[in-house]
Amino acid sequence: MGTASKSSGAKATSHGIHGGFLRSAELYAHRPALEVPGTILTYDELRSRAMSLAASLRRATPSGGSPLTAVFAHRSATAYAGVLASLLAGHGYVPLNRTFPPERTRTMLLRSGCRSLIVDAESEPQLEAVLDLSEESLLILLPERTELSSLRSRWPQHTILGASDLEPAGNFEEKPVLPDSIAYLLFTSGSTGIPKGVMVAHRNVAHFVSLMTDRYCISEHDRFSQTFDMTFDLSAFDMFVAWERGACVCCPSDKTLINPAKFIQDVKLTVWFSVPSVGVFMKRLGALKAGEFPTLRWSLFCGEPLPAEIAESWSLAAPNSVVENLYGPTELTIACCHYRWRRGKSEEECLRGVVPIGDPFPGMDVLVVDEELTEVPPGKDGELLMTGPQLTLGYWQDPEKTATAFVVPPEKKQTYYRTGDRVRRPNEAGPMCYLGRLDHQIKIRGYRVELGEVESLLRQEAGVEVAVAIGWPVTASGAGGIEAFVMGNKLEPQTILKRLKRKLPAYAVPRRIHLLSDLPLNPNGKIDRGKLAKLLADLPQF
């Protein structure tokens, strides 16, 4: 498929998105690059680990696979070294998450065609469920392990290397990277039931990182939060924007994230980046008090609509910081629009109590269109389409879905990505405001869920022809969870839920399955989701 850039595939650059990390490692070798629970790694130490893994990948990855390496690690030094190692070895990284059901991880691994994996100690127990005896030969690197005899006898067809088998860092040779090669492949909810893999190029991320490091004047003294799992592309901001300028990535444990305020204070963060839901819960629990976070310079939010009252409360809690709302689907690389919160001024620019998504990043082009993909007049609503250097390469091995989402609108020559988001095109210089979705995609605490994916699995697992999933309860930033309805009364909701739990990430599993003998229809003969929502509202509060 076409890309927006005319110079794609031109000269190779030794840089790639890991180039910033390598430059920082030269300039700031002894400064902290990463803090994970229990360890602080300097740039030199992290580079060493990454180079050792990269050299091992180069030497031993079986041929015939995709130019991708799976990083099956979570909030550990191995996770970050693994990401860097994949990039150094000329591969894109495919993050796998042990908090996902193993079956889903298995699907992602198979579809990505990775022939190499980097696995940390805590994810290792899941290998049993993720790998298969009939698998092609894989290279599995376990840098935290030295005793491997049981694993090797269990998986004789795979090459399993532990800490003592890895190549020395000095054996690594840097090679140039093409700007259009994949930096990472992230799977996102697919409405027909199968996750879609978004291919993000080095060139895409490089543009983003360059803008962000300048906009926020990042220096080696900065300390970044790392609240997003690696399977969430916003984590790429935390890593690559920090490392570009020699800053430190501060990765909390899952437990630490239960008290985000304490984390910010203990670690003396200067850059906070999270989904708005964290702010919402902190406020509800009284943790967002004025002046609490004096060390923060920037407070950034992305992933779901940002309630105005949270922006305001946070700006008071972090009085030395600037609050910004960022917007962007994975397909447009991390984030591509931003809006700065200005106390006393921004309130009147908000729509329905939600902070605007603002203006496109420099270099990115916006089009707000009607159903025929023609531009709407200023002040009118329509679907948001965008193009520019952050337009990604499309969906992995899925030309059909790619062609549907990446289109050339009439009267235009470039390919744009159809976000499926409804926005209001501003009059003159006003900011863009988000209105909602065009389809049945919802956000649950920032995570993207295609209701169609849940419905498809419901139909399959329940053996029914009709199933409906709706986001419930509706919150300012999306939905708190999912409620499902199926037609039929001979079914066992708990059994169905158990099966869904094996295939969907926890946030996408319906909280309840309601059995109905009839699903309400609207005058067009379509399922009346409004009526179903009313059914839920009328249930005794849970």
Partner: protein, 91 residues
């Protein structure tokens, strides 16, 4: 209203019922030292959401200042902490 540990535990089990059932666990089988987070029943934000729902249901305020995350994800200490803090009741 004074909140008992049992009240809190009932509500927690009610909220987590689908997750627990999917693991083949019944509420009464869950031992006091069961760590909801490390067992994968709930994630960090889920814990925050749970605390928020407990506050709403019982109309209490949980003091977040001295919340020790290490212990809070274990069901026994979680319920005891909440019950203790409920002495500050919102009217």
């Amino acid at each position: 209203m004074v909140l008992s540990v049992e009240d809190v535990r009932s509500l927690v089990l009610e909220k987590l019922q689908p997750s627990l059932e999917a693991r083949g666990l019944r509420g009464e089988d869950i031992p006091d030292n069961y760590d909801l987070l490390t067992e994968g029943v709930i994630d960090s934000m889920g814990i925050l959401q749970l605390i928020s729902e407990v506050e709403a249901r019982f109309r209490i305020t949980v003091d977040f200042e001295d919340l020790d995350p290490e212990n809070l994800t274990v069901i026994g200490p979680f319920c005891r902490h909440i019950a203790k803090k409920s002495l500050t009741v919102n009217r």
